[in-house]
Amino acid sequence: MAQKHEHDHDGSEHSSELSEMQLRVRALETVLTEKGYVDPPALDAIIEAYETKIGPHIGARVVAKAWSDPSFKRALLDNGSKAVLALGAVNPVGDHLIAVENTPKLHNMIVCTLCSCYPWEVLGLPPVWYKAAPYRSRAVNDPRGVLADFGVKLPADINIRVWDSTAETRFIVLAMRPAGTEGWSEEKLASLVTRDSMIGTGLPKQASEVA
């Protein structure tokens, strides 16, 4: 019985999680503020940055630029961090951003099996599924099955390459430019680039979807 009680108490998939966590985090913030470790306005500024400034629109701009500017694409594949920094006006990236290119024969997929490593400078904070057990467990041995969960079916002759982000290197997938987008502006191309296409669990939108 004692064990069961403890399990119930620790369990968090129940509706009690929110109130338990609200109370717990409020207590934590109060302690850290009273001890002089944190400054609440700084916390607000961090939240604002991640909710309003840093997100997949940055990565979409990088991909769209690579689609329309061959010299930028070469620079991006050669040194992702340097190329993205040179774009300016985007969030500074760390020194190990690596862009990996999809081709008619190869599809790349990014995972972090050990935790939640993600190129948040260019994609924002990762979605829940990226950090959860189903994706982290299956991406490395059943990537085609994972793609099916996302409704993506690749031709059998496209090989799959999975990158497990086990260190501080970070990866972004450079998908293939959709057909029928000749002459499009970078801005319009960026509207085709989905977050999932930059992780490798999706493909860019088709031209007809944004026309």
Binding site: E29, L32, L43, I46, G94, S137, N141, W163, T201
Partner: protein, 218 residues
């Protein structure tokens, strides 16, 4: 450590469920948890490797049944106590019962834009790189009870060095406060069948980012 966090290749977790138009945070306590973690990390008491190790050390049932930010919150509480920054009595009371310890620095709102970039983990090497692209290597069959970034599914396997990624702080050392001990980092590429046997799709390739101490010539 061989914990439940090391999930690559495990079965039984079900389908990947993607949420349409997912918000950045799902509740205000998630916002506060994330921001508290960022602000406390800025203070320079612990590193990202300490934080990862703290989450991995949560009891397996807690790890598996907790939402992402609950793990972060519980991990942070553990670190605060371990680093002597707060007592369990204070966390339980929801108030400081003693003055804080002096910290190296404290994050202010106007410094936030400069902190939302990734830190640099590159360091000068201690020795020349042992391997070069094209070399065949075998990952070591190691099972440290402390933090490591060599996943279980890729231990004792033969792969090829695809790229040298520079020299970085070594998480296995930093996480146990034994110093940065910088090590060369490589992308090591494996055939799916080397990792998973015949059940893998023949064309599957999987890479990990492996620190040099994880590798030996094959």
């Amino acid at each position: 450590m061989d914990g439940v966090h090391d999930m690559g290749g495990m079965h039984g977790f079900g389908k990947v469920e993607s949420e349409k138009n997912e918000p950045v945070f799902h509740d205000d306590w998630e916002r506060r948890t994330y921001a508290l973690y960022r602000a406390m990390s800025y203070a320079g008491v612990w590193t990202i490797d300490h934080a990862r190790a703290a989450r991995e050390q949560l009891p397996p049932d807690v790890y598996l049944s907790s939402s992402y930010y609950r793990k972060w919150e519980l991990g942070m509480e553990k670190q605060l106590v371990e680093f002597g920054l707060a007592g369990p009595d204070e966390l339980a009371a929801g108030h400081a019962l003693r003055p804080g310890k002096p910290l190296k620095r404290k994050l202010t709102a106007d410094e936030v834009p400069g902190t939302v970039t990734r830190g640099s983990f590159a360091r000068p090497p201690q020795a020349p790189a042992r391997f070069k692209p094209g070399d065949r290597v075998r990952t070591k069959n190691i099972h440290p009870s402390t933090h490591t970034r060599l996943p279980r599914y890729a231990r004792g396997r033969v792969g090829v060095i695809e790229a040298l990624r520079g020299c970085h702080v070594f998480p296995d050392s930093v996480a146990i406060s034994k110093g940065e001990d910088p090590q060369w980092l490589y992308t090591v590429l494996f055939d799916g069948r080397e990792l998973w046997g015949k059940s893998a799709e023949p064309s599957l390739k999987v890479s990990i980012e492996a620190f040099e101490p994880y590798l030996e010539p094959a």
